[in-house]
């Protein structure tokens, strides 16, 4: 019999497994005998084989391999009390029950220190979710507090309510995602991608707004060339290129995401172009502004208005045609 103690997080209680059936597989997917939920552990990471006397830990062509004493290994013969790192998780092996019982006391003291949230959610989840949620929250609040002209006590109260709901909802979302992600990181990745996109979008919107406020009549905007789709696609492509060399699955995932996001943006943008009078936020959705004092007088504006008048006339003719066909007059 082999006893394995797995430290999934530094602060929570380690899980113990008593293994009698061999070979025993370790990995992220649910088909494995021992499931470890971590981004750093591969779907099928490694297996433990028993050849009668000795136990051997074999790597199953995983991404992050097995590490023992800071050396990366493909195979490792297990000794009593060995510490091996799989992905970012520490495994400790024991051959008999007595030695294991002695280490248990230490674990309990660790447990008493862990907080309520950590009992329900793993440290990993907290890291991945709050890492992206908090910057977004701070960005929004920071902008509202400093740059919006009517930030009074009323808006402060509103902000408090906003913060409460933000955390409440993101907590619910976290629990939901942890239930949905059966060892696969799809949902977590999706969440992360959405959060990053949102943060970047808000950052661009706000920074442009601040810039507009400071230099509304300047040609600097010209240089910036504010175009949301452009910025976002550049960022996405960066993600694809970055992951190309590291993880294939993530790269493919991100590539699909690029296509989806850009399609969404194009859809949104075409709607916005259709009714630009809605004017969501100043000139943010306005593509590269090309103007200078000398050639943007009224003489240049009028042809534009005339063009839209002609466009409206075209629409009118189409409508009359349609009606004539329909009513036969």
């Amino acid at each position: 019999m082999l006893i394995i103690k797995i430290f999934k997080e530094k602060t929570s209680i380690p899980e113990t497994f008593r293994i009698e059936k061999f070979p025993c597989r370790i990995g992220r997917s649910k088909e494995n005998d021992i499931v470890i939920e971590s981004d750093w552990v591969s779907v099928n990471h490694c297996e433990i084989v028993n050849d009668g006397e000795n136990f051997e830990l074999r790597d199953l062509n995983s991404t992050n391999k097995i590490v023992h004493n800071k050396i990366i290994l493909d195979k490792h013969q297990i000794n009593d009390g060995d510490e091996v790192i799989v992905g970012d998780v520490k495994l400790t092996f024991y051959f008999d029950e007595e030695k294991y019982e002695k280490t248990k006391v230490n674990d309990l003291t660790v447990l008493s220190k862990s907080s309520l949230i950590q009992k329900y959610l793993s440290e990993h989840q907290i890291q991945t979710y709050f890492l992206y949620a908090i910057p977004l929250l701070l960005l929004i609040l920071f902008y509202k507090m400093i740059f919006v002209y009517d930030f009074t006590y009323k808006t402060y109260a509103r902000a408090c309510v906003f913060v409460f709901w933000f955390f409440f909802c993101s907590y619910l979302l976290m629990v939901l995602i942890s239930r949905l992600s059966n060892g696969h990181c799809f949902w977590r990745k999706l969440y992360r991608e959405v959060m990053i996109t949102l943060t970047i979008t808000f950052a661009i919107i706000y920074s442009v707004e601040i810039l507009e406020g400071v230099i509304i009549n300047s040609n600097v905007l010209n240089f910036l060339g504010i175009n949301l789709i452009g910025w976002n696609i550049v960022y996405r492509m960066g993600v694809v290129v970055y992951y190309q060399f590291k993880r294939k699955n993530t790269a493919i995932f991100s590539a699909i995401f690029v296509v989806c996001i850009s399609l969404c943006h194009i859809g949104l943008y075409s709607i916005l172009r259709e009714d630009q009078h809605h004017d969501l936020r100043g000139t943010i959705f306005y593509p590269v502004i090309n103007y200078s004092i000398n050639n943007n007088k009224f003489e240049k504006l009028w042809p534009k208005i005339q063009a839209s008048i002609d466009e409206v006339d075209k629409k009118r003719h189409e409508l009359i045609k349609e009606k004539k066909e329909y009513f036969g007059r």
């Binding site: 406020g213 004092i293 943007n296 007088k297 208005i305």
Partner: protein, 445 residues
Amino acid sequence: MKKYYFSVTLGMVLSLLTNLNASTSNYLASQVYSDLERKVFQVKTALSKDAPKSSYGTGFVVAIDGKIITNYHVVSRSLEKYNTYQIYVDVEGEMFEAKILEIDIIHDLALLKIDKKLDNSLKIRMQNIKIGERIFSMGIPKDLGLSITEGIYNGIKKNGLYENIHMSNPLNAGMSGGPVIDSKGELVGVNVSILLKSQNISFAVTSKSVKRILDKYNSRGKDVVQYSNKNDKAVDSEIEKQLLNAQESLTTDFMNTAKKSKKEGLWSYTKPSKELTCWQVDNSDKDKNLYHEKKEICYVPSSSHVKHDLYGGTYELKYSIMSTDKLSLVKFYNYVNSVYNGEQMIESLYINFFANDNYTKYECDKDIVFNTKDIPFKINYCVKAYVNYKGIYDVDFKAVTLLKDKNALFLRLTLRGFTSNNINQFIQTLLNDIRFSNNVDYKNI
């Protein structure tokens, strides 16, 4: 104590006077009523002779061969394409089908004709009337039967560019199109509208306009046109002509006063015409004195009614002048931006997404433009065309500028039923007339 005493005596005198007058006017009213009883009829539109009405009003005889005057809005239903409403005139219980001979959408008049010889017609009074003279309104209010109300002539009020009689006769739905008569039984005007949320302020079309529409018909000679939904091309071209006239006179009026400019704080802009009704509001931040805002809204009080959801020949101007000492430039920019974005360009999404029978979809765009004084403007505009009338457009236009020393100006222009030439004139003069008194070189901002 003294005041109270005075008011009581005054009240007593007044009540005495009215009592006296009432007794004399009763006599007059009954005389006028019996005189006109057979010259005033109910006019209605309905799908057939016996069908229930879809709209109703009053009309009166102007020529014994069966010519009847009523309001255009009473019979406008029958001119709508793809509808089969007919006009019927109720002459002593008998329904006569009526044809439209002439329309005047600006003054809201229509000349009808029925195939019946009538006994006698109303005389049109061309002499001037004194303010304070007693006048009577006749009509069939709320389908209750012919009735007469009395009031006082309060002079000619300019409703936009057009003259209307201002009187104190109480009017109700169904009385529109009825005659306004002096004590001799001569026509003074035609009931047309009331001022909502007011006490006995009502308006009538002048007898001059009635004369004009009759003259117009007579001058046609043999080229008489039939206005009906079966002849919609003639209707459309006539309405188009009148809409064009209305906008042309508004534009010339605008251009005449546009030479003068109005100063407001450090800014100066085109002086709004006298024909407009103007309001000014101080929207400054009262709690902390963070920013100052002065808002001026001017609009033409009248419009040319074509259908129940189609009108033209009117425009609105809005100026907002903003400045601040306390806010930072970014915060002030955010405030100006909220003013700019808060101004809705279009009443509802529905109108824009789906073209309806009357208008095309909106066509919108934005730009950054400098005027002749090199003040930069951020501009949004939307244009839509009238489907049935050629070369007539609605324009929604807004512009904002924010100068370096935290002075901002917002301009909003709404044009209803204008030609592209006049739209050009409006926008050009309004933009180029905006000036800032501090002679800053804007090129270096």
